[in-house]
């Protein structure tokens, strides 16, 4: 081969590779990332990427940089469009700093009630992110990404209400498959919110990493989840998930999946249902899910 032809072949391969990557649409999926003691879920649909919480940044350990970004990269995510933060605690909001640094075009969305909260203010200052750049969410919000519909309910937050109880509720619905996120909201807020419309979902992210302050039986009856996702750190000092919660979930007949034991949990939408895929690493054995 002449040098010219080799160079042409080289350029063609490169262009082909970049082209193939640019024009392929990533599959619709919902992925709960194993970020340690915190929450981060990634929803991809129609070329858009939405994060619900961004992982912890605590005790000098930034899961946003160490875990979330490398995983997003491995997933082939080229841009993040929206980061919805349930509440401004470091195990939910902390990792957003690194994600925003890597994807500066991403918008941060938070409940309006937390606008003046000291932790929010401190984080925004640290990230040099003007409050005007944040999408402050009102009591009821609805978003749409192509066929996916997102409903957000922000419980009232103010004096006398804990930050946990100010966590937003988010229901994601695509082609009839639904998932619900509740941040760290407590049982009382769950009960109040359960009266506000349809919260039934096939996938539920268990509130407050499986703490006994969340996941009331009434709430589980409302959601009726097929899968309950507990996002917690391995060997965490809080003892999450609590034994009582595991029992409550078991009684509700839902399948309990834990990020500390199984790593990332991935769901695809097929025939109007979330179908789990990927490696299961429970009890140290690698098997492929057939669900």
């Amino acid at each position: 081969l002449s040098k010219f032809r080799l160079a042409a072949l080289w350029v063609a391969c490169g262009a082909g590779g970049v082209g193939a990557g640019s024009f392929s649409t990533p599959p619709t999926e919902l992925r709960f990332l194993a970020v340690g003691q915190g929450d981060c879920a990634v929803f991809r649909h129609a070329g858009a990427t939405l994060l619900v919480d961004a992982g912890p940044h605590m005790h000098g350990y930034d899961a946003g940089a160490r875990i979330v970004l490398p995983k997003l990269r491995k997933m082939g995510v080229r841009s993040v469009d929206l980061i919805v933060v349930t509440h401004p605690h470091a195990d939910h909001l902390g990792g957003a700093g690194s994600v925003l640094r890597e994807f500066p075009q991403a918008r941060l969305a938070m409940p309006e009630g937390f606008r003046d909260h000291p932790e929010t203010q401190a984080q925004l200052r640290e990230w040099k992110l003007p409050a005007e750049r944040v999408l402050w969410l009102g009591r009821e919000e609805r978003l749409r990404i192509d066929r996916a519909r997102i409903r957000i309910h922000c419980p009232p937050y103010g004096p006398g209400v804990s930050v946990d109880d100010g966590s937003l509720f988010l229901r994601l619905d695509i082609d009839g498959a639904a998932a619900v996120f509740t941040g760290d909201a407590g049982k009382e807020v769950e009960t109040r919110t359960s009266r506000l419309g349809d919260w039934s979902a096939q996938v539920l992210q268990v509130g407050h990493h499986g703490s006994r302050t969340s996941s009331s039986e009434a709430w589980l009856r409302t959601v009726k989840p097929e899968y309950s996702i507990v996002s917690c750190g391995r060997d965490n000092s809080y003892g999450h998930p609590h034994r009582d919660v595991i029992e409550t979930l078991s009684r509700a007949g839902t399948k309990i999946l834990r990020t500390d034991q199984e790593g990332d949990l991935i769901f695809e939408v097929r025939d109007g249902k979330f179908v789990r895929r990927g490696r299961v690493r429970g009890k140290g054995k690698g098997v492929r899910s057939k669900e």
Partner: protein, 462 residues
């Protein structure tokens, strides 16, 4: 491309066969790569050799263990399995305990060294989610952290050379800490002995954005500088050339131990041995064959190194130097021409290294520096001066403290200041590094395959 040039280097075929074998258990289709190796090497003995090392590779291929999932209490004796990394308040290393490997985080006292037999009573915890993939690849299944009054005791010290090297490194780090401002000391520690734990995140970011991270990660460059300085000192000794080389080899082993036995240093020291041996037996050393032999020895010694990014980057850079750098011509005598000659050679080496490592860096870190050639041109010339200046000042300190401290503060500190200023100037602009979108890892061998096809045989003879 001259195929004969490759055929004349059977060690390259053996090395490729070993890599195929080591990676085949996790990526079985890699076995197909034996076909091009067989097509290239037509001699039966070369083919048999490649096939044999491939089988050896499969047999010793690293297996990825599983992390422990619950706390375990460890009581008994274990062995320190890596050179400890030093932090301001603690040290971390690998601990082999009853057939499993853990990371051990312990107070600075007692000082630990590779090969020490220790007795401990401690709780082992599961690996954290973020570090798990990396640590499992190094066979680590859990973490042990000792805090407060130690429950750790050295019952039998490791080999003397390792202890000597460790003591030298700790004394050097202490001396730098006492004589230099903290950020300068952090940079000098990292440059001389790979003690990079004190570098702040901003500096790390700048090093990455300017493509100069290699200066703070002990590698071939450092071994070359160290060997050059030590070799010059040995020439002053009234002993035969062979003896000087033997002594230099010993000193290099001690340096590798002090620098943490990291893969690039080991690779460089092994290459130095191969090239030194060639010199002793009056054979003309060949860079590519020396690299292949060093890689084979290293991978037989540590099979998991085949997945080590540092080893890959270091080997690929040296291979690219061997393939693409022009043979150095006569060194000009006039000062201006000499400067021009040096600038040209550093820029050439930097350009080759940048192009050769770009796919791997882009894949691993998602960014590639575009100011790498300029930054290396500005930074690399002062690295030998800083290294030799700092090591020389440290060695002089026991004899003449004022001269030692003077060397550190008058020579080393300003040069590190210059280096930091250059890094900031080159790495601060937004465009200093370009983001690389995620891509499939199999583009990387394709890139290197194509790179090989445009090779013109101009191999550097050392």
């Amino acid at each position: 491309m001259s195929v004969e040039e490759l055929r004349g280097r059977p060690l390259l075929g053996l090395c490729a066969g070993l890599i195929v074998g080591l990676t085949a258990p996790t990526h079985p289709w890699h076995l197909l790569l034996l076909l091009p190796i067989f097509m290239l090497y037509r001699r039966v003995d070369a083919r048999l050799g490649a096939a044999a090392v491939m089988v050896v590779g499969v047999l010793i291929a690293p297996t990825i263990p599983k992390s422990i999932m619950e706390r375990e209490f460890l009581r008994g004796e274990g062995r320190i399995a890596s050179v400890p990394k030093l932090y301001p308040e603690f040290q971390t290393c690998h601990l082999d305990f009853e057939g499993r490997r853990f990371t051990l985080t312990a107070p600075l006292e007692p000082p630990l060294s590779l090969g020490d037999r220790v007795r401990l009573a401690a709780v082992a915890r599961p690996l954290r989610e973020g570090s798990e993939p990396f640590l499992l690849r190094h066979s680590v299944v859990g973490r042990v952290r000792l805090e407060g009054p130690t429950t750790l005791e050295v019952v039998r010290p490791g080999p003397l050379p390792y202890r000597l090297a460790d003591r030298f490194r700790r004394a050097f780090v202490r001396a730098c800490g006492e004589t230099l401002p903290a950020p300068v000391a952090a940079m000098v520690d990292a440059m001389c002995f790979d003690v990079d734990s004190m570098l702040d995140p901003e500096t790390r970011q700048l090093l990455q954005r300017t493509g100069t991270a290699h200066i703070v990660s002990a590698s071939g460059l450092h071994v070359l500088i160290f060997a050059g300085a030590a070799g010059w000192l040995m020439m002053l000794l009234p002993i035969p050339r062979g003896g000087q080389l033997g002594l230099l080899g010993l000193v290099l082993i001690l340096y590798a131990a002090a620098a943490g036995f990291n893969p690039p240093v080991l690779r460089a020291v092994m290459m130095a041995y191969v090239i030194g041996t060639a010199y002793l037996v009056r054979r003309e050393p060949d860079l590519l064959s020396a690299l292949a032999l060093a890689a084979i020895l290293y991978l037989l010694f540590k099979p998991s190194g085949v997945f080590d990014l540092g080893f890959m980057l270091s080997s690929i850079t040296v291979a690219a130097f061997g393939l693409f750098l022009s043979r150095p011509g006569d060194v000009p005598r006039r000062a201006a021409q000499l400067v021009g000659h040096r600038v040209k050679s550093i820029a050439g080496a930097s350009l080759v290294a940048t192009i050769a490592t770009a796919p791997l860096l882009g894949y691993a870190f998602g960014q590639v520096s575009v100011v790498s050639v300029l930054a290396n041109l500005l930074v690399v010339p002062v690295v030998p001066v800083i290294m030799t200046g700092a090591l020389g000042s440290f060695l002089v300190m026991p004899i003449s403290p004022s001269v030692g401290v003077g060397g550190m503060t008058v020579l080393v500190a300003p040069l590190v200041g210059y280096l930091t200023a250059m890094l900031e100037a080159c790495g601060s602009p937004e465009w200093a590094a370009v983001r690389v979108p995620a891509f499939n890892a199999y583009w990387i061998p394709l890139f290197y395959g194509l790179m090989l096809t445009i090779w013109r045989p101009r191999v550097v003879q050392v």
